[in-house]
Each structure stands twice: as C-alpha cells, then as structure tokens.
C-alpha cells in the first residue's frame, strides 16, 4: 500500500511539472502572453487604487465614475484576450493529461491504494471508491488520491515558479468569483 501511495505521489509531482513545463513552452514564454499579463496587472492595480480613492460615497462625481467604468471595460477586454491565449494550450494539455490519466487509472484499476482516516461524504464516494470492490468506504481509489496530490502540488509549484496569477488581477478582474464580491460591496 505504501509503495502505491508513494508512486502516486511521484506521478502527480511529475505530471505537475510536465503540465507547467508544457504551459511554459506554449504560453508563458510567448511575448503576447507576457505583454498581456503585465498590462492586466498594471490596470488591475490602477483600478483598485482609483476605486479606493473615489470611495463608495461617490464624492468625486460622475466623471470619475465614468473613467472607472471605461477602465473596467478595457481590463475586461484584456482579460478576455489573456484567457484566449491560454485556452489553446490548455486544450492541448488537457488532451495529453486525459490520456495519461486513463493509462494510470487502468494500471491501478480495482486496487485499494490507501485507507482513508474518514468516510467521505456521499457525493465524494463516487470518486474515492471508484472501481473498487466491497462496501468499505474508507478504501481509497487511485483517482481520489491523485486528485488530492495534484491539488496540493500543482498550486504550490505554480506559486514557487511564479506562474500563479497575481492577486490584484484575480480580484479585480475577471475571475468568475469576483462578481458577487464586488456586488456585495
């Protein structure tokens, strides 16, 4: 069991590096991406500052508000371009990873690779108990452990290598999750 878990850990480290390497090759090192990224970061910071300066009470009038809106529009466009640049290579990487994943899961098919110290909630049991026999839900399948390893390792590697998106950009912009936050303010 220990050998399996360590193997899965190293597989996910390797695939995380592979993924980042491929993304670097296809996206991060391209001029277009670099330009767009610095642009988005600069604009996000500027916008943040402007918003803070104008404040919620709207003392500075409509003119400032209009300016902010225009800038927001520009930022949105840049963000869209940025995700388009990323999209193509993400697609390619996605295909490679699906192939790798199906290969690995066929190797570990039906094997209990670890014992979970807890019983997962019911909608996770489909993943954590995938392709396993028996009804002991503390048995852990390959895919569950792999997903957990990847969640932890990939993000940390991105952060270490400096590929993670900057905070002000993801806050201002364009992330799907930022909208309710902005509305709440």
């Amino acid at each position: 069991m220990l050998a399996d878990t360590l193997l899965i850990l190293s597989i996910s480290i390797a695939t995380a590096f592979l993924g980042e390497g491929l993304t670097w090759l296809l996206v991060y090192r391209t001029e277009k991406y670099k330009k767009l990224k610095t642009e988005v970061e600069k604009q996000s910071k500027k916008l943040e500052k402007k918003k803070e300066a104008s404040g919620p009470n709207d003392a500075s009038g409509r003119n400032a508000k209009k300016k902010i809106e225009r800038q927001e529009e520009r930022l949105k466009n840049n963000n869209r371009d940025l995700s388009m640049v990323k999209m193509k290579s993400m697609f390619a990487i996605g295909i490679v990873f699906t192939a790798l994943l199906s290969m690995f899961s066929s190797i570990f098919d039906g094997r209990v690779v670890a014992k979970l110290p807890f019983v997962p909630i019911s909608w996770l049991q489909g993943i954590s108990h995938r392709n396993l026999m028996g009804s002991d839900f503390t048995d852990c399948s390959f895919i569950f452990l792999y997903i957990l390893c990847t969640m932890s390792i990939r993000q940390n590697i991105q952060k270490l290598l400096g590929f993670a998106p900057s905070r002000s950009a993801s806050k201002q912009g364009g992330g799907l999750f930022s909208t309710p936050m902005q509305a709440a303010k």
């Binding site: 069991m1 220990l2 670890a114 014992k115 110290p117 852990c140 957990l148 969640m151 932890s152 002000s168």
Partner: protein, 96 residues
C-alpha cells in the same frame, strides 16, 4: 512584487502550507480519524492564522478586504496538502 499586502498574503499562504503538512503528519501518526480530524484541522488552521495576524503583525484586516480574505488565502491548497499527508501516513502506519 514589492507590494507589502501581497507579501503578507504570501507569508500567510506558505505558513498555511507548512502547517497543513505538519498537521497531516501529526494526525497520521497519532492517528486521528473521522470527521473530528477534519474539523480540528480547520479550527486549528484558522486559529493559528488569526493569532499570527493579530498578535505578531497587527494588520488592519480592512486593507485586505476583510477577515474572510485572509482566512481564505491558500486554505484549499493547505487542506489538500494536509489530506495527502494524513492519508499516506495513516494508511502506511496503521494498515500495513
């Protein structure tokens, strides 16, 4: 980046990762099990970050968009790290 806010959040992020790993190792050795293990982890993790920012740094949480922003920083990654360490040690030490 030379932004002090970003730097502080980075410190919180890495603090969380180390904490997650250490907790996972300890939880696996003791061993904790069941939902209690998860809950204790979340409570402990939030507590450490809270104490760190209040007593050592004295930061103004409003600068970061509220308490939740800081408590959320790196939480999911830390949780995943914790789970991996916990599961591996738990199954290696207590099921072989």
């Amino acid at each position: 980046t030379c932004d002090p806010q970003d730097e502080f959040l980075d410190v919180i992020y890495w603090l969380r990762q180390i904490l997650g790993l250490l907790c996972g190792i300890v939880w696996g050795i003791i061993p904790f099990s069941g939902i209690a293990g998860l809950l204790i982890f979340f409570a402990f993790n939030a507590l450490v970050v809270y104490v760190y920012m209040n007593s050592f740094q004295k930061v103004d949480e409003e600068e970061y968009g509220g308490m939740m922003e800081i408590l959320k920083e790196g939480l999911m990654t830390s949780f995943a790290t914790f789970l991996v360490a916990w599961i591996i040690l738990y199954s290696a030490l207590h099921y072989n």
